[in-house]
Symmetry: C2
């Protein structure tokens, strides 16, 4: 394990990060590498070029996921897989996604350089359109690979220029075909999948940890709340005769927030949009609409909070009626403890402190967990910032994360 | 007094209301008679036509205020004046403004029919551009007449088509000149001014009163509040590390509202606009801006509340800083008790129940009170509704109000 960790090269990793950041590099230091655009295709071709030095075979599936497959001594066994995504937000950073692909690449190199013998095959993957910034929704590559979404329906997603994902994909695939990249089927079995990613939150930075073991991904419920009162003249209507939708919405929002308060600080409750009608300084509002983003790692807690929200929205608030409409729901994901325990043991053996945490953001792992045992490794990002040109990591953290990834992959391939 | 009240004709008043409502009448039953537009000029010409039957002389001043002057036996005395405005909102009703002019007209007729001898001259006035809907700000006619605003500056106000008030006024004045209407100076002295108006609020209707005596006009303070936190990912940021501008603004708004709570229900506190930035469902807001409309009849209370608002805004709210910027302030107006007592006495003599109330809306009286003893009479409007095609009054209430007006004018002219 120590030899594998020692074989991880911070120089190579730093060079790779700098190289890939140039595909779609922005003048503000950020990256705009939208799914299946010219820069995304260039990044894929660059990744594919790295295969031969690893003794790996590059291939691409029908949704554009790129794989580099390193054979194991028992080639009929299901492979161990690592990777992430190369696409970014339009005003994105250098690390969200790309780090996981390049850490995986460096882990494969370290295993080779350390002379480690793979029993199982080992694969690196880059999933198509994780961000959903150009074609919404995201996680297209992993969802189609795992059979969660249909390929033909996903090909119909359109970007804001009316270009559909299918035609952008065909352009990309034609370039990969021309480069001699083989095609591969979807839904191929995997022994395990481990993804390294930046945390996109502040917890590891706060705790001074270089790396964290992710226990799962929070479930998310989105709601739209409408509070209806009665518009009236701000100057002439006594308090006792008002049904002020703003007052009602403010009281309901406060009650909802109070209902989510937990000592452990695990519930995430956010009101991010709030619009007041008619929106005139001297008119009492007759309607307020606001959003709720509610997240928790446990289904039971999410359900209990949703029930409380329903109850609260059936009460009268400052004389106003409220309605609560569920907009979307994604169930929490718990990574198997066998796999997180393997990460814990490996970290312990390497002398790495790796606290547990839950992912607040989505990742391709949300689909992979249905396909095979799946886990994630996080490294801190400065101020928890992501989806922003100022997204920043410390190279030392990336190296520690890659060491944990490489050693864990080695174990899994034994 | 009883003879004067008996001489008020509900038929004439109803006819006049119906006639004037046709100048700019809308298909939805409302009125669009914007200041100095063609319909406003036609309504003025109609009013001027009523002069001869009253033995009155019509005249117009440099800002377009139209006067009908009935001579008194001692013509060197300052006149008693009543009136209101003929302009409306673009989707206005039949009564806001017009009722006060037509009730004044009917009061003059009733005094004549009752054979009442005027010692002082008595005048009816229609003020120009009270609403401010076409040319903002409103109360142009009364403000310029009373010397509160300058004529040349007021003439420069532009409507949304870029037409300035001066040119619209000149077009109107040319028509009045052609009709032989005399010019008169601004700022002529008055013995007293009494305006009858619809309440534009729900109090008289709630109390089942046909008429009310207005003690004054509330003062108004407008503020803009900005609460600044820190934007972050809704899924990944623990509660303890958030500085959620929405949470802060909601808490501050609640505290501000609580600070305005009075048992007497005289404070008017309204948050009518509230905007959240960046306004994304899954982003913790970094900034909220909201408005405050605060009204009270007493300067001291307004000042005390403003001081409390300042204090509250200097606190930290959910980790966020707040700033409170005063946008505008209009001092409360108290009508002289000599005049409200005269209205009380007259109502008592006529057997009319006329509770006191404070105006929550602005009126030309806000300027007139600086020029001469001023008071107002309100009559109820259905559901407190105004500035709307559904604006509605009961004719019986209008008659009672006109009786009180006519009898009070009679007293003042003695």
């Amino acid at each position: 394990m120590a030899a594998i960790a020692a074989a991880v090269s911070s120089e190579r990793l730093a060079n790779d990060l700098a190289t890939v950041a140039m595909f779609g590099g922005r003048s503000d230091g950020g990256v705009a590498r939208l799914a299946l655009d010219r820069n995304d295709t260039r990044a894929r071709l660059w990744l594919i070029e790295q295969a031969s030095a690893l003794g790996a075979k590059a291939s691409v599936d029908a949704i554009g996921n790129v794989f580099l497959d390193v054979p194991g001594s028992e080639h009929e066994l299901d492979p161990v897989v690592t990777g992430s995504h190369l696409d970014s937000q339009p005003t994105g950073g250098k690390y969200d996604g790309a780090l996981g692909v390049l850490a995986g690449l460096e882990a494969l190199r370290a295993l080779k350089d350390a002379g480690f013998t793979l029993r199982r095959p080992l694969s690196l993957v880059s999933w198509t359109n994780e961000e959903g910034a150009r074609f919404s929704p995201g996680t297209s590559g992993s969802a189609v690979f795992c059979g969660v979404r249909k390929l033909d329906e996903t090909r119909l997603l359109e970007d804001s220029d009316g270009v559909n994902l299918g035609s952008a994909l065909d352009t990309c695939l034609a370039e990969l075909d021309a480069a001699g990249v083989a095609r591969r089927p979807l839904a191929t079995p995997m022994h395990a999948f481990i993804e390294l990613h930046i945390e996109q939150g502040p917890i590891l930075e706060r705790d001074g940890a270089s790396v964290g073991v992710v226990e799962g991904i929070q479930g998310v419920s989105w709601f739209q709340v409408t509070v209806t009162g009665s518009a009236n003249h701000a100057g002439t209507t006594p308090r006792a005769q008002r049904r002020d939708a703003f007052e009602g919405a403010c009281a309901l929002a406060t009650a909802l927030r109070k209902a989510t308060w937990d000592d452990e600080d695990r519930v995430r409750f956010t009101i991010g949009t709030f619009s007041v009608s008619p929106g005139s300084v001297n008119t009492i509002p007759d309607q307020v609409t606001f959003s709720i983003d509610l997240r928790h790692p446990e289904t039971e807690t999410l359900k209990a909070l949703e029930a409380t929200f329903n109850q609260l929205s059936q009460q009268t608030w400052a004389g106003c009626r409220a309605t609560l409409i569920p907009l979307s729901r994604v169930e929490p994901v718990a990574f198997p403890t066998t796999l997180t325990a393997l990460l814990d043991d490996t970290a312990h053996e390497l002398g790495i402190t790796a606290p547990h945490l839950v992912s607040g953001a989505f990742h391709d792992a949300i689909h992979l967990v249905k396909h095979c045992p799946t886990a994630m490794i996080f490294i801190p990002c400065r101020d928890g910032l992501s989806h922003h040109p100022d997204e920043h990591i410390e190279l030392d953290d990336a190296v520690v994360g890659t060491q944990l990834l490489a050693a864990s992959l080695a174990r899994l391939t034994c």
